[in-house]
Amino acid sequence: MIELDNITKVYKMGRTELAALRGISLRVEQGEMVSIIGPSGSGKSTLMNIIGCLDKPTLGQYRLEGIEVNMLNDNELAQIRNRKIGFIFQSFNLLPRTTALANVELPLIYIGAGNRRQRASQALESVGLAHRAKHRPSELAGGEQQRVAIARALINNPSLILADEPTGNLDTQTSKEIMLLFKQLNQQGITIVLVTHEADIAAYTQRTIRMRDGQIEASG
């Protein structure tokens, strides 16, 4: 599913170069649920961005479902993100002034898909929010907003869900509900990679990858 070989990412900050990732090699199999933990500055966000095809590595190879990601141009990357990956963010990133339903529809706009309304409704239903379809994000509780974001991530039937601190803005009870939802999705066969720094969140996953200073400290 995810094959990373000796991935290095170097940021240029003026004249100094900052290595955010130093030779990461990692495999995630189809249907796995993996957490990446580590202190801030350890490079876990950078790793997520590369896995999510938002960023390209400076060195090394990345294959996603056998596709050589390094070879793709911006438009092809956008297409991969649209069709294969669902993103979940700490701060939900829903469009304000737009209903839950329209938020869920958003990825479908960019592939010009038909019967969007219906597909979005189904996705909302699958996260248990059908009754809140017409509400705007500001009218929804944090857990509900994150469910809308999950429905949006699911809309194109992705094979991979990437969640960056998905419970960071939620209370313990809601966090638990969201993690159970992730587990449920994982059982349906979706690969899930999530970044967190909370050990009890990582405990929901089958495997934890511990990062420090741009390298994998421990995996398993």
């Binding site: 297409q79 002034r97 737009t98 958003l106 990825p107």
Partner: protein
């Protein structure tokens, strides 16, 4: 991303911040409204002017005393110099000298105190010959025009312009009534139809036989070549012979006035089409000035839109990042913001057209109340042009902000606070 989705997204964005959108539109709105109303009013005026010119008479040539030295050849010399004579007119009407000329109508003009019943007012009196009616395309409302016997017999008869007749006699028929011109009795033999339009002055005039006016109302003036008159109206045989008629008239007059080779004419020969050409030129200049004003206001409006779009891109950086994360390509973001600025501008333009239409309607209504009715309409091509230009301004001013949005790095955009 389909254009329709872009448009829906744009409308949502525009309507989500109504006050800001409204204020941004204002620049375009005012510009378009001003241009629409000004252009429409000028066009209406121009149409009326053209109709007036046409009502003056076909294939008409004016001969006036004095050289045409002033700008546009209009205004200056008329009536001040005294170089034209009745004998000049007779020479022009001789078809051996001027084969292209169909009819000649000499005019002397004076003013007189006109009294009828209790009414007493000053009016311009034109001393004319029977030909004047045909050359100048005068239509009688009732009665008859001055005849040959009236002219040769120096009859004291007068034909009244429509408005003058109304002011003197009200609703009564003036025909066969008596009026006094500077104390002398004249019989009214006819009343003219109104010419209206831009030349309403003619409706206030009275026409009497040239011979009568010469002998009774003016001090006889003669020059070396004969009896002085103020103007000669000439009708060419056809539209094609206007230019040759003008040349023939010029030749005759130069010869009669003993003007040597190289010296300037002491008279002005001007055909109606040349005069209306001058008017068209003037309207062309007015439209040019209006166009410049429009350009400036649209530029200002465009800068306003660009400003707001830049603010909007900054404010919605996270939204752009998210859209990119879920699969928006650069193109999609570019189109989204371009559509948004074009929609903004087009809305402003559309409201501007509506506002301009209201202004034209109002102006027309007010003008009609004052007695100068004109048709209130906004030409379709002006509307289309205004809306097209609005869209163009929107696209042009949205281009830079849209490019900036499209180039945003999704990771940094998502991290933006």
């Amino acid at each position: 991303m389909k254009l329709w989705d872009c448009f829906i997204t744009a409308l949502r964005a525009v309507s989500s911040n109504k006050l800001r959108s409204g204020l941004t539109m204002l620049g375009i709105l005012i510009g378009v409204a001003a241009v629409i109303s000004m252009v429409s009013l000028t066009r209406a005026e121009q149409t009326m002017m053209t109709e007036s010119f046409e009502s003056l008479g076909a294939n008409l040539i004016y001969v006036m005393p004095g050289a045409s030295s002033t700008m546009f050849g209009m205004g200056g010399p008329l009536g001040t110099a005294q170089t034209l004579t009745l004998e000049d007119a007779e020479a022009i009407s001789d078809s051996r000298n001027a084969p292209s000329v169909a009819m000649v109508a000499p005019v002397i003009e004076t003013s007189a105190q006109v009294v009828a019943g209790g009414e007493n007012l000053g009016a311009r009196i034109a001393g004319v010959t029977p030909e004047y009616q045909y050359v100048n395309n005068l239509v009688l409302a009732e009665g008859s025009f001055i005849t040959k016997p009236d002219y040769t017999g120096r009859s004291r008869v007068v034909v009244l312009g429509s408005q003058l007749a109304q002011e003197l006699f009200g609703l009564r028929s003036p025909v066969n009534q008596t009026v006094r011109l500077d104390g002398r009795q004249f019989k009214v033999i006819g009343v003219l139809e109104s010419k209206g339009g831009a030349f309403g002055l003619e409706d206030l005039m009275a026409y009497a036989p040239l011979s009568t006016v010469q002998s009774t109302l003016t001090v006889q003036r003669t020059s070396s070549t004969g009896h002085t008159i103020q103007a000669i109206s000439v009708q060419a045989r056809s539209e094609e012979t206007i230019d040759s008629a003008k040349a023939e008239i010029t030749d005759i007059l130069r010869q009669r006035h003993h003007i040597r080779e190289g010296e300037d004419d002491d008279f002005t020969v001007m055909s109606m089409d040349a005069i209306s050409g001058i008017a068209d030129q003037m309207y062309g200049m007015i439209e040019l000035v209006l166009g410049a004003i429009a350009g400036i206001s649209l530029l200002v409006g465009g800068i306003g839109i660009m400003n707001i779009m830049l603010v909007s891109v900054t404010e919605r950086t996270r939204e752009i990042g998210l859209r990119k994360a879920v699969g928006a390509k650069r193109r999609d973001i570019l189109t989204q913001f371009l559509t948004e600025s074009a929609t903004l501008s087009l809305c402003g333009g559309a409201v501007g057209v509506a506002l301009g239409w209201i202004v034209v309607k109002l102006a027309s209504a007010i003008s009609a109340n004052l007695g100068f009715p004109f048709p209130a309409m906004i030409p379709g091509d002006v509307i289309a042009l205004a809306l097209g230009v609005s869209i163009f301004v929107g696209l042009a001013s949205g281009l830079y902000p849209a490019i900036r949005a499209a180039r945003l790095n999704p990771i940094e955009a998502l991290r933006h606070e």
